[in-house]
Structures are given as C-alpha cells and as structure tokens.
Symmetry: C2
Subunit: 339 residues, 2 copies
C-alpha cells in the first residue's frame, strides 16, 4: 500500500497511526490530561510521522495565533534595533512569533500595518508609533512604547523625567555652567517630552544656566545649525554642555560641531538619550542616558499577553541610568575597555 508522500501529516494521520481518536491527539498536542498509555502511543506516532501542528488551522479554530506584531520606525537606529532584539527574545521565550513592521515614522504606513495585522489575527500588537490617532481593533491587546494613548492602552516607557534630571545633574557635576537642551520631534504629547521638564528641573536645582531649542516635526534640521551659530562667537560656543533628546540627534549635532571646529568633549560636553551602542556589546555612541531596552521589552510582552485586561496598568515607567560614551569629561573606569 502506497503511503501518501506529498502532504504533511495531519492530526488524522497521527490518530490513525496511533490507533486513537482525533480528539485524543489534540489533547496530547495541547498538554491536556490524557491516559498515560494513550499519551505514549500518540507521542510515538508524532515522532514517527514527524508531525507538526498547522498553526493556521489552530488559529482559525481557536483564534490564538501565538504571534505578536511589533511596529517600530526602523531597525537601524541602534535603540530600535535593541528593542527589536529584546522583544524577539522575550516573545521567543514564551513561544510567540514576532511579526516585525518597520513604519519609517510614516503615520499612513503605521495604520496600514495595523490593518494588515488585523487580518492576520495576531494575538496582540506592540507599537512605537507616531500616528496620534491610530485606529486599533478594540479587542486586540495593544501596548505602546513611549506613547500614552488613553487609559485602556498600556504605555511602557523609561523614566524620562528622571532621565532628563539625571542629564542636568551629570552636566553640573562635570562642571558645566551654561547648557542647552536640543529636541527635534513630534509635537505629540508623548512620554519622551518629559525629558525636557526633567532637565529643566535639574538645571534649576543645580542653578545651571540653560536654554532650549525645540524643533517641530516638519522643521528643517538647519534650525539647530542656526541656533548653534547664533551662540558661536570668536571661535567659541556659548555653551559648555548640551543635552540632546536622542543619541541620534547628539550624533547629528556632533557632526555640525565638528564642521564648526568645536571640540567634543573639550569645548562642549554632550549627553544624549537612549543608550545607542555600536555593535550591541560595543561602546556607546555618546555619553548617554540609557533606556533599559531589555526591561521595556519584557514588560511590553508581559502586558500584551496578560489575559486579564482589567489589570493592565495605564503607564509603566522603568529606571534609566547614565553611561559614559566619550562625549563627556568623566573618565571611564577602564580607559579603553577591550571587548
């Protein structure tokens, strides 16, 4: 008798092979209580046939797909890359799959991805998005990173206020007298905005002279160049410390300063935000307030998979820390850490 070869084995095949009913195989596969002798026979058959459950059939019947969609602007910003990696890790630990969607900060793209995963019946969505009025299926668990979107939608963020404060204090400790805060980004009322008030508060507490330069979403980057030039006299910058709202911005600003002939950190010290590193375990791009990407990821996954929606907290803030990255005058412990 010919064995059918072309198609993958199904539960029915396993049931036939083991001489049991379909439902019994289902129970074994799902770890439900089954008589010992039955379990053994079914497991043997599964082994023999190299049976794999069809998660599409599972998903159709049970509406549990064991997959989570993750929306991020991109993967090449080291902070987003870190998040993607840690989210993948946290999901994998729970046997969940990650559907990664890069939105390029594009609100339309964001909505399209949401619609797409709606069709895909993912079990939940974790999103770091920039569309202030995303329409999300109300019965799909949704967790945001850094965007507070309402009481029903948990937001996981680092302690941005404390981070801003920490930056001010660090700059003060490092001997700065006149500092500036640079921000580019959305006008959304998002969590990272608290970096500004934390910084402001820190400056006041330490009696630091400070200025703010805040660009709106569409504004050209040149706004910063102009700002720096306005504060550049006789070959010297007015500031001896800068706090940039992200490491990415700090990096861009450093290029500007370089072209102006301003030395970092000798002439001006710079602290960024995020904790962007070069190759994961490499050194930091700049001195920075580090966001705990691993804890953020773990928390997002925990919340999105939480079965009792009522228990989901509206906002979770996780602790940040400072790290030396070469753009400040504090010497690192080991001058040049190898590996």
């Amino acid at each position: 008798m010919m064995k059918k070869m072309s198609t993958a084995p199904t539960m029915k095949d396993v049931a036939r092979e083991a001489g049991v009913a379909l439902g019994t195989v289902s129970k074994v596969v799902n770890g439900l209580p089954v008589g010992e002798n039955y379990r053994i026979r079914v497991e043997a058959a599964i082994e023999k046939l190299d049976y794999q459950v069809n998660s599409y059939a599972q998903g159709l019947k049970s509406s549990r797909t064991y997959s989570i969609a993750v929306l991020l602007p991109n993967t090449f910003n080291p902070f987003f890359a870190d998040l993607a990696y840690q989210l993948n890790l946290a999901l994998q630990k729970r046997r969940y799959k990650m559907l990664l969607c890069c939105t390029a900060f594009n609100p339309t793209e964001e909505q399209e991805y949401i619609n797409m995963v709606r069709q895909n019946k993912v079990d939940g969505i974790i999103g770091l998005t920039y569309n202030p009025d995303l329409v999300v299926e109300p019965d799909t668990p949704y967790v945001t990173i850094d965007r507070y979107m309402g009481p029903g939608i948990p937001c996981v963020a680092s302690d941005n206020y404390a981070g801003g404060q920490m930056a001010a204090e660090k700059l003060a400790d490092l001997g700065c007298r006149k500092v500036a805060f640079l921000r580019i980004g959305s006008s959304l009322t998002n969590e990272p905005n608290k970096r500004r008030s934390g910084f402001e508060n820190g400056c006041l507490a330490r009696q630091l002279d400070y200025e703010m330069k805040i660009l709106d979403d569409g504004d050209p980057f040149d706004g910063f160049v102009d700002f720096l030039k306005e504060h550049f006299h006789n070959g010297k910058l007015d500031f001896d410390g800068l706090f940039c709202v992200t490491d990415n911005l700090a990096f861009q600003i450093m290029k500007v300063l370089e072209s102006m002939g301003v030395k970092v950190p000798e002439d001006v010290q710079i602290i960024g935000f995020d904790g962007a590193r070069m190759f994961g375990d490499g050194r930091y791009v700049c001195s920075t307030i580090v966001q705990p990407a691993d804890a953020i990821a773990e928390m997002c996954v925990e919340l999105v998979l939480m079965n009792n929606a009522a228990l989901r907290p509206p906002l979770v803030c996780l602790p940040v820390s400072y790290a030396y990255g070469g753009t400040t005058l504090d010497a690192p412990q080991a001058p040049f850490p190898v590996r």
Copy 2:
C-alpha cells in the same frame, strides 16, 4: 432584529449583505473576474461591514500565507539591521509579512526557528545562518544569504572576492606597504571566505607584503591581541594597513589598537567589510567595503517568491563598493558632511 456584534464579519456576512453567493465574494476579494454590477454590490457591502479577510482561514485552505520568515543573528549589528529593514521593505512592497527570528548565531536556535516556521506554514524562508546542516522542509522555498548550501538552495551574496581585492587595491593606493588580513568566524565554507582570496590576489597584484591571522569559531578574541602584540616593536606596529573581515571586527580591533597607543589612520589604516553605518543615514563606522543591503534584500525576496523553482539560480553575487569612514587617509569629498 439584533445584529451580531461580538464577532468580526465574515465572507458569509458580506454575501448576505450584498445578496450574492459566497464564491462571488471570494472572487471579488481575490480580484478574479466578476460581473461589474456584482463587484460593485460586494465592494459596497465590504465597505459597509468593514470586512477584513481572515488570513488564517485563507492560509488553511490555500496554503498561501503571504508571510516569509527571516533568520538573522541579531538586529544590533548595523549590517544585519540594514538587511532586516530592507527585507521588510521589499516584502511589504509585495504585501508580504515578515516573521523576524534572531538566532544569536546559535545553530540550535536556528533549527528551532526553522521548525517553528514550519508549523506556521510560511511561504518561504530567508536565512543568514551558521548551522552547516540545517534541516529545511524541502517544499518550503529557502534562500540563504552568504551561505552556499547546495544547488537547490539559492544563495545571495555580495561579490566577496571583488570586495577583498578592492580592499587590497585601496590600501595599496593609500600608500600601504605591509598589510594584514584579520578574520574571525566560522570554518564553514561560506561566501565571505572569498574575501580572503580576493584580498590575497589583490596584494600579489600590487606587490603588497601581507600576513593573515585567521581565528576559528571558538577561538578567543585574544588571538588577535597576541598577534598584534607580536607585530608591535618600539611603539610601532609592523603593519601600515589592516583589512578586517567585518566592520564589527574592525571596530573591536580599533579598541585594541587604541589601548596600545596605535593611532588610526595615522599609524595604520583600516578597511572593514559590510558598510555598517551609525544611524542609517549617518557616517560609516570605518572605511569599508559596502555590501548593497537593498539589492541583496530585493534579490532574496525575488528568489524566495519565484514560483518556478527550476529557474532559481544557485548563486547570485552583487556588486560592492568602497566607502570612506575615517579610518583611512583618503579625504572624503566634503570634509564633514552635515546630514
């Protein structure tokens, strides 16, 4: 009469609403030829009910899931991050979803992911893996990056040989007389190995004195430190040029050189491989041979979705280019490109 609210609308609901048969709705959804007046009624009903196809039911019936699994070691190596981003882009363009799996270079993890996506019936797999004997479902299209695994499995890579040669020529052009090639990594017969022979060939052609230091998989990184120390006399390195097999390695080596007091690029010029950049549009981590991540991604997607398996080429090599990144003595066009 009560409308059912709890569940999402199905094709049956659309059919009822539009007063047509189930099969007609299916045709409209899939863009198959349907009478104009029917199409209009169905489309109106879809609009009205906000109907979304259930891709799990689709996947079950048709075995087409419109999803591709992507296996990468991680996302925080900028080159892998770039690949992930470009793959997402290329897949999105074709309305495919990307299942991202980070394997951490772990062969077991790699196999587990393959098994996992087997259950998920993805339409194909794109993998940059390190397990020499991965077991892949023979009927799932599989495309590798950088690993030639046999005639049936297409491999997409950059022109590693030409890249190695290019590195040697560039170093020669830059005035180097004695150079070294540093490699750490798998003993697999993978495409990147050709960087060595290309480099060797280039050195011979340009009569460059060269040495090789090649570490195997498990070998400790200290092997390089020792090698460099052996070639370090009276505060000077024997070499005036180094070619590192990846930007990541170049980065590590630079840390070692820094701790030895060797100046880059004044004392020794360094060329890496990959084209790792800081924030996507930022500057390169080091002078480097750039792999065309966008073209690689596009080609992988093209091949993995190709319906005629017989036409899949076994190996595709894509052109590389050189880019200045601060670790060589060639001045960039604009000294400090802002933005």
